[in-house]
């Protein structure tokens, strides 16, 4: 299905926002302004955006520890996200969650997750709600190649198939789980693994926004129309370390530079839309500037925001107690 001009601009805007957000978080982390464990999504933008452009507000996603991109693609407020990552008042989770637990239920974003394989069971639940209450919604579990070996992921795929849930399992295979190569850790072919559960799936170039969008569109409509769970296997790369501070000595020399030069999703997108005369370079340059200004403002506001107050420590544990 052809994307119109507005949709193309929106797709580029989101991918650029994620890239700019992550590069900025990388710099802020290096200079010591951001604490904790931070996992960056740069390089994988086409996956989150290509999938989430096929979702609406009533649909849910569950993310991983590498959650900023999914958050932005699902429409979370970028400034509140930045405050959250800085651990400040006004953050998306009031400063209690941080990067690894960033979430916004009102946007259908069920959270980044500190537990590998934590998301897929939750997504079975969200899909069950959609099915039971007949909301017409679907639920998407993003899983890394490492998370694809977790029992909870495999059990969830079986459960979703048995219950014919409107659930989509998205494997973001960025080649590594921490320092371990996915070519070693995943035995067998992911698409065949899904087929073993009776779930149809497809392997897709995760650097190519258009390929991701089209595969996700087909899979999500099939599932939305009552076809049961679907599976997508995106082959992609991450640009930064596993977490901020990882020296990435396990990667081959020049590996990342090569991907950045040859397969960067933003570059590929620009080539394609400019080449086909769909969008003009200056339209995209304008977006780059807008996004840079937005992220500057987000960081400035996050730094200026107050710390949470002591009383906040004790709230939100229970609905009532």
């Amino acid at each position: 299905m052809e994307l119109n001009r507005e949709q193309l601009l929106a797709a580029y805007h989101q991918m650029r926002t994620i890239r700019e957000f992550e590069e900025r978080v990388h710099r802020e982390f290096s200079s010591g302004s951001i604490p904790g464990f931070v996992h960056l999504y740069a390089g994988e933008e086409a996956c989150a955006v290509g999938v989430c452009m096929n979702l609406s507000a009533k649909d849910y996603i569950a993310s991983t520890h590498r959650g900023h991109g999914h958050c932005i693609a699902k429409g979370c407020d970028v400034k509140a996200m930045m405050k959250e990552i800085f651990g400040r008042k006004g953050g998306l989770c009031g400063g209690k969650g941080g990067s690894m637990h960033i979430a916004d239920m009102s946007k259908g974003m069920m959270g980044a997750n500190g537990i590998v394989g934590g998301g897929p069971p939750l997504i079975c639940g969200a899909a069950l709600t959609a099915k039971t209450l007949k909301t017409g919604g679907v639920a998407v579990a993003f899983v890394g190649d490492g998370g694809f070996n977790q029992g909870t992921t495999l059990e969830s795929m079986n459960l979703a198939a048995v219950w014919k849930l409107p659930a989509i399992f998205v494997l973001e295979d960025n080649g590594y789980a921490e320092s371990t190569a996915s070519s070693w850790s995943i035995s067998g072919e992911p698409v065949k693994r899904a087929a073993g559960f009776g779930i149809p799936g497809e392997q897709v170039n995760g650097h190519d926004f258009f390929a991701v969008y089209e595969a996700a569109r087909k899979a999500i409509s099939r599932t939305r129309e009552g076809g049961g769970p679907s599976f997508l296997h995106f082959k992609v790369s991450r640009y930064f370390g596993h977490f901020e501070g990882d020296a990435t000595t396990y990667r081959g020399a020049g590996e990342v530079d090569k991907v950045r030069a040859e397969r960067d999703c933003l570059t590929l997108f620009r080539k394609r839309v400019e080449g086909a005369g769909l969008l003009k370079a200056d339209q995209l340059d304008t977006i780059d500037k807008e996004v840079a200004a937005l992220i500057d403002a987000a960081v400035a506001e996050a730094k200026a925001a107050p710390e949470p107050s002591a009383e906040d420590l004790l709230t939100d544990v229970y609905a009532s107690y």
Binding site: P35, G36, F37, G87, R88, C93, G95, K96, G97, G98, M100, H101, N113, G114, I115, V116, G117, G118, G146, G147, N149, Q150, G151, T152, Y176, A177, E178, S179, T180, A181, S182, S183, W184, S185, I186, A247, T248, T249, Y250, R251, G252, A253, E255, E307, P308, A310, D312, L313, L314, V317
Partner: protein, 336 residues
């Protein structure tokens, strides 16, 4: 003897036991690292570098990287232990016990009892715990009391590099399942540690300070804070005994009771949640066995009953620190 970090101390104990006994193997996610990758092998040595250097010495056959499948590999360590190996499995963060607790709670802990003594399960599960890293609710918990709750498991919470080396050596030589809980904020702590192997027996507390007025029992990282308080208050006329139980299961009941018999006052400091935790457990023990000696109500110094927050400002309030321990000691000593 030389200055060593907590990280080096654990690494040395693992290395020495692997040299001594070829049945000792290691397994865990990225404990060497670089598996299947084009770059450096042994790239990680675990997320905080504790097992670095062991794979080059002992090879991939004895230092096994695993997929992210904790139920499978923690269970495999238990099964291997029951059948002739002595595995040390790395359950990276204690919070991840949630994905594999069955293999620990229903398998490792109970095989021997259920089989009428006919199984021996010499497995060690190493795991990081503790707040202070801004690592938020799922990477900061002090869940070790959950293990102490389960009969059949031994639970170690070392308080310094010296302790860590001797207790890890004992853990590997021990014939029961041992959960070895390392505080992630202590890996760079340094002290003199012997170069040669030594084992610290389980169930024997270490008295780190001796005093007459107040007994402080502290666990893991809290021992350091308790010592600080004891040193400070000692100069102000409140003399404290500080007890580090070293192992919370078995627990050295006698050292605690004997001390409270003398001081009549108890403060328990624990980084775990307050409900059904070690502080409550030790307080109950003293209430039952040394009630007559008590001159003041027992004080527990713990975090509040909440998950660990991300925000630095909130996490600093969450962690029981020197000021709260000091206030509790002053309160039981009647000098609040």
């Amino acid at each position: 003897m030389s200055k060593k970090s907590f990280r080096q101390a654990v690494n040395e104990a693992l290395r020495d036991e692997m040299r001594r006994d070829s049945r000792v193997i290691l397994m865990g996610e990225d404990i060497a690292g670089g598996m299947g990758a084009a770059g450096e092998q042994d790239a990680w040595g675990g997320p905080l570098g504790v097992t670095k250097g062991l794979m080059p010495e002992f090879g991939r056959e004895r230092v096994l990287d695993t997929p992210i499948s904790e139920s499978a590999f923690i269970g495999a360590a238990v099964g291997a232990a029951a059948t002739g190996l002595r595995p040390v499995a790395d359950l990276m963060f204690i919070d991840f016990m949630g994905v594999c607790f069955d293999q620990i709670l229903n398998q490792a802990a109970k095989l021997r009892y259920m089989f009428g003594g006919k199984a021996t399960v010499p497995v060690v599960i190493r795991t990081m715990f503790g707040a202070g890293f801004r690592a938020a609710s799922q990477h900061s918990q002090g869940l070790y009391p959950l293990f102490a709750h389960v009969p059949g498991l031994k639970v170690v919470v070392p308080s310094s590099p010296y302790e860590a080396k001797g207790l890890m050596t004992q853990a590997i030589r021990d014939d029961d399942p041992v959960i070895f809980c390392e505080h992630k904020a202590m890996y760079d702590d340094q002290e003199d540690v012997p170069d040669e192997p030594y084992a610290i027996p389980f169930g024997e507390a270490n008295v780190t300070r001796e005093g007459d007025d107040v007994t402080i029992v502290a666990i893991g990282r809290m021992v350091k804070f308790a010592n600080e308080v004891a040193d400070k208050l000692g100069k102000q006329g409140i003399s404290c005994t500080v007890i580090d139980p070293r192992t919370i299961s078995p627990l050295d009941r006698n050292t605690i009771i004997d001390s409270v018999e003398e001081t009549g006052r108890l403060v328990v400091v624990d980084e775990a949640s307050p409900r059904c935790g070690m502080a409550a457990d030790i307080a109950a023990l003293v209430a039952q066995d040394a009630f007559k000696a008590l001159k003041a109500p027992v004080r527990m110094v713990t975090p509040p009953h909440t998950p660990v927050p991300f925000s630095a400002a909130l996490e600093d309030i969450y962690i029981p620190g020197v000021p709260r321990i000091e206030a509790a000691v002053r309160a039981v000593a009647g000098q609040a």
